[in-house]
């Protein structure tokens, strides 16, 4: 695999570091790809894979380190520049114009012009575009018409269009981020074949996936990231799923028995607080069942796209379920909207507080009071009692130690941790029975994180049942009484705390074993 001059690698990244507020996303990471080589890149959520890819594709700038292409140092200025250097990135959410044809997408931004004066006037040579698109698609061995509208294609076909675009741009390196996450088995097999075909043409491929079997099938070697460090590289012959999982989770994790007290004995009497059976939303969540006791913290673990957020949105009525039974304190519930869930006592702190949780232009007090307005109003809603509203907000601000200069401060000016507390405060003012927390500490600093953890424990101690969705294994392990692991929309297993080791959770989360969910 000899390159042109000296280095055997087409791409070399040396000592790459990147810091975000509160987190070192990458710490002196090396990464390299030779021409015609397929390199697998694996790691837990938050290990730094996406950050590395974004630096490579020009979306982020690195803080330190160097990038060499064919031995020459380069500064990647932005996504366009990366593309012109020969790096094509295929993201999970495709960057295609859905209303345009396949050919128009393949040549998006680089439309061939007609010869002569017509070309100088900006007239596009549609025929050449279609002809060349057809040639590239044939080369890939896929039957897609260049005239087809992209929005009508299947996910697998759209991916082929993305790959065709990379070929048409004469990319030397193709980066694929979770390319198989939404493909069926047959399409996965085809895609892996095409990846090998790209490599045999001398194109380097970076293949990022949570599905270790697929990585091992296609990659020449696998690089493992953990907490922003490169913790290992295994050539295909030495790599096994077990070895990779060990590298991925191989940090010291305290199970935190001090933090999570056992479920109160009294809670076991009578029906469980919440009982879920056969919860299904076609294509997203399949036959999910579990129980939740009063005062219990049920951790929900799983990799990106495992259906965790989708599952809790069904419980909250934010999306409609196609099937399933939910019982609260033994009584069956039909939840058709968040309002009904809230009235029943089930409340959700959504994963994206800025887009789903808060009205950023409204004040801290108004955000806290939003679901309590009816209770705060007199004359059947005609007059919101502002004094009571301020009192309610003030109680929560003091209780949760929300740092804000005034109740009238707009929420957009608060820090991430304090914003998250505002969303929590909203529900604590309502006396929830079941509180669902989706990634409650994402993007907030360490101090605020500890406070939120403390708060979660004290809420559970007061008898609230808590469903904690988190991508951070240490958080799940430190807080949960039991851990529900999801994989492809299903329950891969429910582990009691004693059995919930990082290895066991990762094993289930990567789909190596789908247990019948344990029902007690």
């Amino acid at each position: 695999m000899g390159g042109g001059s000296g280095s055997p690698y087409w791409l070399e990244m040396r000592g790459i570091s990147k810091r975000f507020p509160g987190v070192q996303a990458l710490d002196r990471v090396d990464f390299e790809v030779a021409p015609g080589e397929v390199v697998g890149l694996v790691g837990e959520n938050g290990a730094g894979k996406s950050t590395l890819l974004k630096i490579l594709s020009g979306a982020y700038r690195r803080d330190a380190g160097s990038i060499l292409i064919e031995g020459c140092p380069v500064e990647i200025q932005g996504p366009d520049h990366a593309r012109s250097l020969g790096i094509a990135t295929i993201y999970q959410d495709f960057n295609l114009a859905p209303n345009r044809s396949v050919a128009a997408n393949v040549f998006l931004g680089r439309e061939p012009r007609r010869a002569g004066w017509a070309g100088r006037l900006g007239l596009v040579d549609g025929q050449a575009m279609r002809r060349r698109t057809r040639a590239v698609l044939e080369e890939l061995g896929v039957a897609i018409e260049p005239e087809a509208v992209v929005g009508r294609l299947s996910v697998a076909q759209r991916q082929m269009v993305e790959i065709a675009r990379a070929l048409a741009f004469e990319a030397r390196l193709v980066v694929m981020d979770e390319p198989t996450s939404s493909l069926g088995q047959e399409d996965v097999r085809r895609l892996l074949g095409i990846v090998r075909a790209l490599a045999s043409r001398g194109i380097g491929v970076v293949f990022v996936s949570h599905r270790l079997e697929e990585v091992l099938q296609v990659a020449d070697r696998v690089v493992v990231l953990r907490d922003g460090h490169r913790v290992g590289m295994l050539p295909r012959e030495q790599a096994s799923p077990e070895a990779l999982v060990r590298l991925m989770v191989g940090r010291e994790v305290s199970a935190g028995p001090d933090g999570a007290p056992g479920v109160p004995e009294g809670a076991r009497q009578g029906p469980p607080l919440l009982e879920v059976r056969g919860l299904t939303r076609r294509g997203v969540v399949q036959d999910v069942g579990f129980t939740l006791e009063r005062g219990e913290i049920l951790g929900v673990a799983g990799l990106m796209g495992a259906g965790r957020t989708e599952m809790v949105r069904l419980l909250f009525g934010a999306d409609r379920a196609d099937g399933g039974v939910v019982r609260l304190e033994g009584r069956p519930l039909a939840i058709r909207s968040p309002r009904e869930a809230i009235e029943a006592g089930i409340m959700l702190v959504p994963e994206d507080r800025q887009h789903q949780g808060l009205v950023l232009k409204m004040s801290v007090a108004d955000n806290i009071a939003l679901p309590s307005l009816r209770r705060l109003a007199r004359l059947g809603g005609l007059r919101v009692d502002r004094r009571r509203l301020a009192q309610l907000a003030l109680n929560q601000v003091q209780r949760l130690r929300i740092r804000t200069p005034a109740l009238s401060q707009k929420v957009m000016y608060l820090s991430g941790g304090n914003q998250q507390k505002v969303v929590l405060a909203r529900w604590l003012a309502q006396e929830p029975k079941v509180l669902i927390l989706d990634e409650p500490t994402r993007g907030i600093d360490v101090g605020a994180k500890a406070e939120v953890h403390e708060l979660i424990r004290s809420l559970a101690a007061r008898g609230i049942g808590i469903i904690l969705v988190s991508s951070e294994l240490p958080e799940i392990l430190a807080l949960s009484h039991r851990v529900l692991v999801m994989w492809r929309g299903r329950v891969a297993g429910i582990l009691p705390r004693e059995a919930a080791t990082p290895e066991r959770i990762m094993w289930l989360a990567t789909g190596h074993e789908v247990l019948e969910s344990r029902r007690e």
């Binding site: 909250f316 934010a318 909207s337 968040p338 309002r339 869930a341 809230i342 009235e343 959700l348 959504p350 887009h355 789903q356 949780g357 808060l358 009205v359 950023l360 232009k361 409204m362 108004d366 009071a369 939003l370 679901p371 307005l373 009816r374 705060l376 109003a377 809603g381 005609l382 007059r383 919101v384 502002r386 301020a390 009192q391 003030l394 601000v397 003091q398 804000t404 200069p405 005034a406 109740l407 009238s408 909203r426």
Partner: protein, 326 residues
Amino acid sequence: MEPSGQARAAEVRRGAAFLRMQELGILAILLVMSALLAVRAPQFLTSTNIFNVLRAFSWIAIAAFGVAMVIITAGIDLSVGSVMAVAGLAAAMLLQAGHGTVAAVAAGLATGWLVGAINGALIAWGRLPPFIATLGTMSIARGFAYGLTGGWPVRGLPASFNRLGQYDVPVGPWQIPLPVLIMLALAVLCHLFLTRTIWGYRIYAVGGNEQAAALAGIDVRRIKLLVYSLSGVLSAVGGILMTARLGVAAPTAALGYELDVIAAAVIGGTSLMGGEGTILGVLIGAAIMQVIRNGLVLMGFPAYWQPAAIGAVIIVAIMVDQLRRR
């Protein structure tokens, strides 16, 4: 409970509220414009002229209160001009058929409510973009106006009805036109509605972040139905007052008024992105529009060129406001 430091800080901030008031910028623009006009055209400041200006923008302002609520939810209502015409016509046709003023006004309001509710239903349940839904009803309502009248205006309305638009109420030394008093009363009501009732809070929440509002248990569709219905009713109020003032209901009445109404709301600080806007701002915005119009007339500006001047002033006013906000 003792007021805490935070609560006290909130009180202090309220004291400075006037200086931080969103409407301050456009209020200044209005005052400067009026002052310039008063110097250039002394008749501007006569009470007759001032009340004429007020009356002329009263129906625009009333319709703009409703449209502002729609825009606060990040929507738009293009049907207001047509609704004004149809509501006025509905009232006039009932009067012509021999019904009383009360019945005629009720019919006009019901017509506005109906069109507004259809808008709301199309947008909330039919999931149409507000621009498209109200573009459609704008044309449909205008078509009804032409179709029902055969294109002829309805004349000869009874004096009891025309008084609604023409009567001047003696208040102290002044004769204040009734539409102006109605506008002021509705301004107060709409302001209280938006700032004091749970529906007002929810309207701002839906416009500020629809997803978050839904996840906080707010029935977003009902809020949308509510604002479009209100917009229809308030436009109908404006249309009825305008018809009463003119004493005639023409199918071409209020043609293009939707743009004046939207401009008034936007000049008044209502954000097209949703979540922001006040009734006081809308009132000032509508006043600015009319003062420009009146000023151009008083200064002898050629009538045919007025739309160009008004457009330019709208752009400048909003640019100044944007600069101030930064």
